[in-house]
């Protein structure tokens, strides 16, 4: 596909998602209290969008991932929350 074709197919969808992200960050700013580590992780992941190589999706996923390699002693629960806290088991 040409870049023009891709823009024709996906620009409006991407534009909508971009505004959703902006509105999400505005909403967080308007909220009260301290945010947890997820907000910092989200802002750090956004930096991946500035890269020029077409590996941004991979970069965002890696930015939000646990980079350690050893199994942990005990499961803190069953669910995942979408960003790594920087601490084992969370």
């Amino acid at each position: 596909m040409t870049r023009q074709n891709i823009l024709d197919l996906y620009f409006m969808d991407a534009r909508s998602k971009l505004i959703d992200i902006a509105a999400f960050l505005d909403r967080v700013d308007r909220g009260e209290g301290e945010p947890d580590f997820r907000l910092a992780a989200f802002r750090k992941a956004l930096e991946e969008l500035q890269h020029t190589e077409p590996q941004r999706a991979q970069g965002v996923l890696m930015s939000l991932s646990d980079p350690t390699s050893e199994p942990i002693a005990k499961a803190p629960g069953k669910g995942a929350i979408g960003a790594w806290s920087g601490q084992e088991g969370h």
Partner: protein, 268 residues
């Protein structure tokens, strides 16, 4: 259009979903064992679940002319209890001769714990001893990258396992390359929020190729779409992929992997 749904948790879907899938062109559905959304109280609960997967559910699907196949295991979300897992694994050989059983799955890791890893190794040993295909669940979100590496290491450590008889499911952009490089099949799961959207799935197909890749909806009791595979086929059409290319990805590829178990047969 014709397609295979190689990963759908149909016990948690309504009968209308079977009808919609058949109308959309589904020719077979495969159901790995998974977590019920709550922990079962003991091995008897799993015995009943395995009976449901091998007896009742195929009959429900057959009402719509849809062949139903299954995979058996204790899901990684319940693998933290090693003693329970051992009791459940001991039940599985009794079911391996049932006519719709394709192999061991979906095994893997959830939070990447030592106990989960022990249970994964026991499942791998079970599959090796009984010459079974393996379907692997990789962890969610922030745990996926680490868990995928641990899983690949665990499988490669058992020389009895042939990588072409293993599918590593729920790959994303940061894990698909390592899975394919190691010789395994890769499953791309289509979810509305977590995992992969149809456009991203087609991106991965275009970037990494479709030689050892399948698509699945992994529809269950959470936010998921039993028609995600045919919708992704539509996405491929929008990008100009040929009907032959689409058919290969959504129909022929799953057949190539699944028919390594001769029980898996499907009409063309």
């Amino acid at each position: 259009m014709r397609y295979i749904e190689p990963h759908g948790h149909m016990v948690s879907r309504v009968t209308d979903d079977y009808e919609a899938m058949v109308i959309a062109g589904c020719r077979a559905v495969c159901e790995p064992a998974f977590w019920a959304g709550y922990d079962r109280s003991g091995p008897e609960g799993f015995y009943d679940y395995f009976c449901q997967l091998t007896d009742y559910e195929p009959k429900r699907a057959a009402k719509f002319g849809l062949p139903h196949f299954t995979w058996l295991c204790i899901n990684p979300k319940e693998s933290e209890d090693v003693h329970l897992a051992q009791d459940v694994i001991a039940l599985i050989p009794k079911f391996l001769d049932r006519p719709n059983v394709l192999g061991i799955g979906e095994i893997g890791l959830n939070k990447n714990t030592r106990n989960e890893l022990k249970v994964l190794e026991q499942h791998i040993d079970l599959a090796a001893r009984h010459q079974q295909l393996i379907l692997v669940h990789t962890p969610h979100l922030e745990d996926k990258f680490k868990g995928t590496r641990l899983i690949l290491d665990a499988i490669r450590a058992d020389a009895r396992i042939q990588p072409e008889r293993v599918i590593i499911d729920h790959v994303e952009e940061h894990t698909i390359q390592m899975v394919l490089d190691a010789g395994f099949w890769a499953g791309i799961t289509l979810y509305p929020e977590s995992k992969t959207t149809p456009p991203r799935a087609v991106d991965m197909f275009e970037v990494y190729g479709g030689q050892r890749v399948w698509l699945n909806s992994a529809c269950d009791w959470g936010r998921s779409d039993p028609l995600a595979v045919p919708k992704t086929a539509v996405e491929m059409r929008r990008r100009g992929h040929s009907e032959e290319t689409i058919d290969k990805l959504v129909f022929q590829n799953p057949i190539r992997f699944l028919s390594q178990n001769p029980r898996f047969t499907v009409r063309g």
